[in-house]
Every structure is written in structure tokens, then in C-alpha cells.
């Protein structure tokens, strides 16, 4: 009962984490957009600044991209691989990361106005994903917690 209950709570927690991560990724893009727009900060430096004030998963993403850039990879490749790593290590769904992936070929290769437009569009798309994830979490978190306990209870009853 405790195992199934725990499993239900883990799934429920991941639903909440997904919403939180999407919010943090939106913040990351907001910081990058500000650094690009107001300070014309080079992208690697903007990533350092953004990573400094982000949670561990987003900070890890920034560090990964920076490391790959340092190894001589293009920003497009480094960003893509960073997003793939994020997908492997977090409860985010592939469609949640589509806005980030769409940025890969355009980051750093155009003027300020264009960069800000792309970053703002990606923020907007992330916000929509966040809304969907939030609704999903609200609908299902309680369900998973209860289901975990109930399945455990049923197993116990069956065994008795």
C-alpha cells in the first residue's frame, strides 16, 4: 500500500514540477530577452547571468549549453542538445519543449529586434504550455494521489 501510494504521490509531484519548470523556462527566456534587448550582452554571458538566478534544472541547462559552446559547437547544436538533455532529465513533455527547440536555428544569428521577437514568441508559446500543464496538474494531481492509495488498499484487501 505504501509503495503504490508513494508511486501515486510521485506522479502527482511530477505534474506540479512540470508546471514549475515551464514557468522557470519562461523566466529564462525573459531574462535572455532583457539581456539581448537592453544590454546587448553576448549570448554566452547572457546565459551565465540567467543561469545564476535559475533553479537547478534550468541552471543545468544553461551550464550544458555553455560547456558545449566552449567545446566549439555552434549555438544551434548546443541549444538543441541542451533541450534534449532537459527532456531526458525532467518531467517535461516533448511538446513542452517545442518552443525552445524552435529557437535553436535563430538564436544569435540576427539583429536585436529579430532576436527579441523570437524570444517573445517562444515565451508566449511556453505560457500556453504552462496553462495546459497547470490544468492537467489540477485535474490529475488529486486523482493520482488517491489512485495510488486506493490501488494499494485494493491489493491489501485482495491479499487478505
Amino acid at each position: 500500500m505504501s509503495a503504490t501510494g508513494k508511486a501515486g504521490f510521485i506522479v502527482a509531484r511530477k505534474l506540479g514540477e512540470r508546471v514549475e519548470l515551464l514557468r522557470e523556462l519562461e523566466n529564462l527566456l525573459r531574462i535572455l530577452s532583457t539581456q539581448v534587448d537592453y544590454a546587448l550582452t553576448p549570448f554566452p554571458d547572457a546565459l551565465v547571468a540567467a543561469g545564476r538566478i535559475s533553479s537547478s534544472a534550468v541552471k543545468g541547462f544553461c551550464s550544458f549549453v555553455l560547456k558545449e559552446l566552449h567545446n566549439g559547437k555552434s549555438l544551434e547544436m548546443a541549444w538543441k542538445e541542451g533541450v534534449e538533455t532537459l527532456l531526458e532529465r525532467t518531467p517535461l513533455h516533448p511538446e513542452d519543449l517545442a518552443p525552445l527547440l524552435s529557437l535553436a536555428p535563430v538564436l544569435g544569428v540576427s539583429d536585436r529586434k529579430d532576436q527579441v521577437r523570437h524570444l517573445q514568441l517562444a515565451q508566449e508559446l511556453l505560457r500556453q504550455r504552462q496553462y495546459t500543464a497547470d490544468v492537467d496538474a489540477k485535474n490529475n494531481q488529486k486523482l493520482w494521489r488517491s489512485a495510488g492509495v486506493l490501488v494499494g488498499l485494493m491489493v491489501v484487501l485482495l491479499l487478505i
Binding site: T41, F43, P44, G72, S74, L75, L107, G108, V109, D114
Partner: protein
């Protein structure tokens, strides 16, 4: 060649440490495999989309061996490395058509210009790059400086030269020496303000001068000359103002304003000798109005950097080819020769000293 000119770092080391990390991976190995003598003579690397990579050396042009035509992937990768994957951060420089790298190397660019209200806003579809290796020649001003100092006072100086004859190199070293001071000439260090419109003098990268411009030098990077001179006068109380390639009426007005404030000037202008100024009214005015006490003319008669003549502001010669120096001129010139760091006879006076 850099070593011959007394520079600290050989060109081959500059190429490998300061240029190669900014080039596409496919270009690095062919450049690394170049013979040492080619690396040492290297002046420019020219990348053109769809064409072979050209190297401009002191001995002429050659194509980069072992490198096929430059494809778009290599050009894009080079651009990413050059701009740190941040084209937007170099927008202002792109508008001017070049960016500066650490070490002061300049990368000229052309492509499709994006216009805004008739002016270039930025460049896109960049199709050609010209990577010019920076060449700071420490000691380039050793030969001429004794002519430009009188009783320990630095005299306002105009350097006239055709393109590629070394006026910017000479100006850069004059800035350094005037800023540092030259005890042998009784010249104390001066506060020097530099208006570096094209980032060629100090070669600032992210605001930090990459060339040695002396300890008392303040650099205003990227500003127009006329506006920049006025800003320096207001803000930095310079004793000497230096700027490259003057010539417009606004430049002349700003230089006059600086003189009124008691500031001495060092400037350069394009031209083949002082006679060339007669065809260019605004430049002629610089001399007629007595803005400059000395005029140094550089040329190529004995190779780039030859000091062709040095004149007083009134036109009289201190050093020149067509007649023997007499009287005070001779005394001035010989005094200057004796006190100069190099023992140079006329015709051998070059800002690039030979081994």
C-alpha cells in the same frame, strides 16, 4: 614582419592563438600547416563565399593550400565564432562594416545591407570577410619623434600619407610615446585623448584597448571625430588629442576649438605629400590656419613607412629630398638625428626599422 619590427609576438603565434579559434574548423588545419615564412609574412586572410581562401602576405597574394572553396557552413561557423554566437551584440560594428577581435585584429565584412531611412542599419547574408592581423609596431615613432619635440614640448603634428604607408602605425606609436613620456627628449608624459572612430588606434575590444596606447591615454571608441573631440575637451581635460584621418569642415572646426583650449594635436590625413593638400581645401586650411606646427609626410619610396619629409607648419623643411638642408634647418635636423634613437640618414628613415 612582426619580429623584424621588434614586436613581442611573432605573427605565426598571433595567427595560431588569436585568429584560428575564430575560424571554422575546416579552415584551421590548412592554416596551421602553412610554411613558417608564409605565416610570418601574413597580413590578411580573405574569405569569400564560394571561392578559395586568399592570403595576403608581404610578398603577394596566394590561395590557401588544401582548402576547397568556402561553403556556407564554414562561413556561418566562422561568423558564429567571430560574434560569439551573438550577431546582435555587434550590430553597431556591423553597421560600420567591421568588428574588432581580442588582440585588435579587425574583421571587415560585406554582404547585403539592410537599410533604414536610407542608412545602413545592419548587414545580412554576409558573403566576404577580410581578417586583418593587427600590427602594432612599438618604436615606429622613434625616428620622427625628435623632430616633433621642442624644448621638451610636444608640437601639434599632422601626418600625411597615402594608404598603406604607415600613418596609423606611426600615429599609434606617437600616442604611446607621448602618453608614456620620453626622458631622453625631455618629454614628460602627457594626458592623451584619442578619438578612435574606426577602432584602429587602440583596437578596443569590449571597451579595453588591445594595443599599448600608453598609461595616460583615454580612448573614445567609435565616436565621430568632430563630436568626439568636443566630448574629450569637456570631459577628460586632455593635453594632447589624437585622431585618425581628418578632413571634413566639422573636423577642422573641432580641431580649432581644441587648439583654443590649449590642447596639442596629432592627426593624420590621406595624401601624397604636402602638395596634395592644395587640391583639398579643408585639409589645406589645417595648415594655413596654423593648426599644426609639424607636418610629417610618409610614402613608399624606400618601402612602406618611408619618412619622405618633415616640415614646419610654415612650410619650411626639416627633412626632405629635393635640396640640402641649410642653416637652422640643418641644425634642427642634425640635432634631431643625434638625439634620435636610430642613426638614420635621409632615405633610410623608415618607421619600420630593418634588422
Amino acid at each position: 614582419m612582426r619580429e623584424r619590427m621588434g614586436l613581442g609576438k611573432p605573427t605565426r603565434a598571433v595567427l595560431e592563438e588569436e585568429i584560428l579559434p575564430f575560424l571554422a574548423f575546416s579552415l584551421r588545419e590548412p592554416l596551421r600547416r602553412l610554411p613558417v615564412e608564409v605565416k610570418e609574412n601574413l597580413l590578411e586572410i580573405r574569405l569569400r563565399l564560394g571561392r578559395t581562401v586568399m592570403l595576403v602576405t608581404a610578398d603577394g597574394d596566394l590561395t590557401l593550400p588544401g582548402s576547397p572553396c568556402l561553403d556556407k557552413a564554414a562561413m556561418d561557423q566562422t561568423l558564429q565564432f567571430l560574434t560569439q554566437s551573438s550577431l546582435y551584440a555587434r550590430e553597431e560594428e556591423l553597421r560600420q562594416g567591421f568588428i574588432t577581435l581580442p588582440g585588435g585584429h579587425r574583421v571587415g565584412m560585406v554582404g547585403r545591407a539592410v537599410l533604414e531611412q536610407g542608412r545602413i542599419r545592419t548587414l545580412k547574408h554576409i558573403s566576404a570577410l577580410n581578417i586583418r592581423l593587427a600590427r602594432q609596431v612599438l618604436g615606429a615613432a622613434d625616428f620622427v619623434l625628435p623632430y616633433l619635440v621642442e624644448n621638451g614640448v610636444f608640437l601639434s603634428t599632422l601626418i600625411i600619407s597615402p594608404p598603406g604607408a604607415g600613418k596609423t602605425t606611426l600615429l599609434r606609436d606617437l600616442i604611446r610615446q607621448v602618453s608614456t613620456g620620453v626622458p631622453a627628449l625631455g618629454l614628460k608624459g602627457h594626458k592623451v585623448g584619442v578619438v578612435d572612430e574606426r577602432s584602429e588606434l587602440a583596437a578596443s575590444y569590449l571597451g579595453v584597448p588591445q594595443n599599448d596606447v600608453g598609461p595616460r591615454t583615454d580612448v573614445l571608441d567609435g565616436a565621430g571625430k568632430a563630436e568626439g573631440i568636443m566630448l574629450l575637451l569637456r570631459s577628460m581635460s586632455p593635453e594632447v588629442i589624437a585622431t585618425d584621418e581628418v578632413g571634413s569642415p566639422a573636423d577642422v572646426a573641432a580641431l580649432e576649438e581644441a587648439l583654443v583650449c590649449g590642447v596639442r594635436l596629432i592627426a593624420t590625413a590621406h595624401g601624397n605629400g604636402i602638395n596634395d593638400l592644395s587640391h583639398r581645401p579643408f585639409l589645406r586650411e589645417l595648415i594655413v590656419r596654423g593648426l599644426f606646427t609639424r607636418v610629417v609626410c610618409l610614402g613608399n619610396s624606400c618601402g612602406p613607412g618611408t619618412v619622405e619629409e618633415i616640415r614646419n607648419g610654415d612650410g619650411s623643411k626639416l627633412l626632405g629630398p629635393s635640396r640640402k638642408l641649410k642653416g637652422k634647418e640643418m641644425a634642427d635636423a642634425s640635432q634631431a638625428h643625434r638625439s634620435a634613437a636610430l642613426d638614420v640618414r635621409y632615405g633610410e628613415g623608415r618607421i619600420y626599422s630593418c634588422p
